[in-house]
């Protein structure tokens, strides 16, 4: 049943979106990705609000969150997810360009399931994204659905 679930990607940079989708396409996961461009969009999707009012209910298999985004950044989205009883068990992977320790530390403190530094080296990047996507979308057993 897991393989039908979607991946939510919150990423504001279209080039990163394209590259991530390319990486996931190699594993036939690209067509199941929903892309939002900031934290506000991510929360609307997760809570079925705004333009996602009419979407099929149910949580994605995994949320990939870029840390630096306009309006509401990745750490704020993570905080909102962990504070929401309906969403708090959702697997969240932080995607970031930053190797800066404070980001990593804060991410784990706030309950991120994984933290992936987007490498400059595309091969490594593909590898990282693929692993995350495959692991969370296909292999990992989700906690029982609450809705």
């Amino acid at each position: 049943m897991n393989e039908l679930r979607t991946i939510l990607l919150a990423e504001d940079n279209p080039k990163d979106v394209e590259l991530i989708l390319e990486a996931l396409a190699d594993h036939n996961l690209a067509n199941r990705v929903t892309v939002v461009h900031d934290g506000v969009g991510a929360m609307e999707f997760l809570r079925c609000e705004g333009k996602y009012k009419l979407r099929r209910r149910g949580s994605p298999a995994v949320v990939l969150l870029d840390i630096k985004m306009p309006r509401m950044d990745g750490l704020e989205v993570l905080q909102a997810i962990r504070a929401d009883p309906a969403l708090k068990t959702l697997p969240v992977v932080m995607l970031t360009s930053s190797r800066e320790e404070p980001d990593l530390k804060r991410s784990y403190e706030m309950g991120a399931n994984a933290y992936v530094v987007k490498p400059v080296d595309f091969q490594a990047f593909m590898g990282a994204v693929r692993q995350v996507g495959v692991f969370w979308a296909v292999i990992n057993e989700l906690p029982p659905e609450r809705t």
Binding site: N13, K15, D16, L19, T96, R99, E100, K118, V120, F122
Partner: protein, 487 residues
Amino acid sequence: MWVCDLETLAFLEVNHAAVEKYGYAREEFLTMTLKDIRPSEDVSRLLDNMAKLRSELEHSGEWRHTLRNGRIIDVEITPHTGAYHGRKASLVIGRDITERKRAGEALRQSELRYRQLLESVTSYTYTVEIHNGRPSNMVHGPGCEKVTGYTPSDYSADPGLWLDIVPPGDRHMVQHYADPLCEGRAVPALEHRIIHKDGKVIWVRTTYVPKRDGTGRVTGYDGLISDITERKQAEEEIRRLNAQLEDRVIERTAQLEAANKELEAFSYSVSHDLRAPLRHASGFVDLLMKRFKPELPDKAQHYLNSIADSVHHMGMLIDDLLQFARTGRAEMRRSETDMNELVEEVSASLRRDNPGRAIEWIIGTLPTVMCDTSMLTLAWMNLLSNAVKFTRTREKARIEIGSYEEKTERVFFVRDNGVGFDMRYAQKLFGVFQRLHSMEQFEGTGIGLANVRRIISRHEGRTWAEAEPDKGATFYFTLPRRKSQEP
């Protein structure tokens, strides 16, 4: 007493007392004149007088006379003019006042000294008697005028004056301060302000000394009051300067913190924003190669490889620079660190990364030191990976790691048999982005040794290198020896 001729000044008669006093026999006297008993320097004054006062040659007053033995005495003269054997003469009664004058002079001197002393003192004493367990009969010593502007009689005329001149803020502290002395208990010296008669506020320090009778009962006490205004002003100045210094330190610290924050924000931004475009360039080059490689001519593939190389190099530069910034500002976390473990760990990882290389590792016994472990790991990584890199052209590379003790520091070294360098450029070696080899020969960002120097200098150590072209290089660094590190 003698009689002398007013015309010739000759002695006409002398009495026994004069003979005794002056030491001349009567017969001698009668051959002498008044001039003969005057000190030579006074004779002209005598002759002047004689010209002016012919009628009354020696008026009453004090004169100096010379005795036969040459001693000079002071004489008080009382003359009576009259006739003696038909000659106009003067009957003179002389009185030796030398002792009186000397005593007077001594008294005058003593009084002068006393006045000068009082003028220059900055302390005076007062005495207090204790009657029925209460202080009474306060008497201020004469120095009080100099210190407080009020005379002893001012104080005795107004028994409340001693407290009135204390500013209201200090009065409660002073008023009953000495009371324990009445019960025989000692009190420490007290510092407080008083208002001088001229209106200036001065600081005084009072030291209390109890007085006891034969049975040990306290009958009163003395207070020694000293003007300490200058000392207090100096103390105040020191306090002011210290406060100023503290303010300046706080200000500088704040500036430094702000600068650090800015630098952090800057490297955060570099880390995010500078890497993203590189990632994109690299990503799309990669996709291009993957999807369209068969259709691309060799030249196009070569261009793409060059782009990929540059992007990769730029990525390394950014990462190294960020790390360099971090080693400069990261907080030091010192702990006891076994250098053998660090070197073992680093060399093992280099062996893994360079499986094709024949490297002879000679690792001496290294000490355990107090340092930031992760920073020192990075320093060893930079030094050892350099040694591996620059011995690449050797069939058999040799890398030796060791340490020795100096008086105040421990010296560590990494010696290799690699390509070395020209010592003329040695001072450039540890600068950021400084490279002594072309990219063609040896790749690198030129930040590794700058990082080593920064790490070691943050540990208060030194870094240097010795080498000869084609004969290998030795890199040294030191860490200070501290007492706490001694066995």
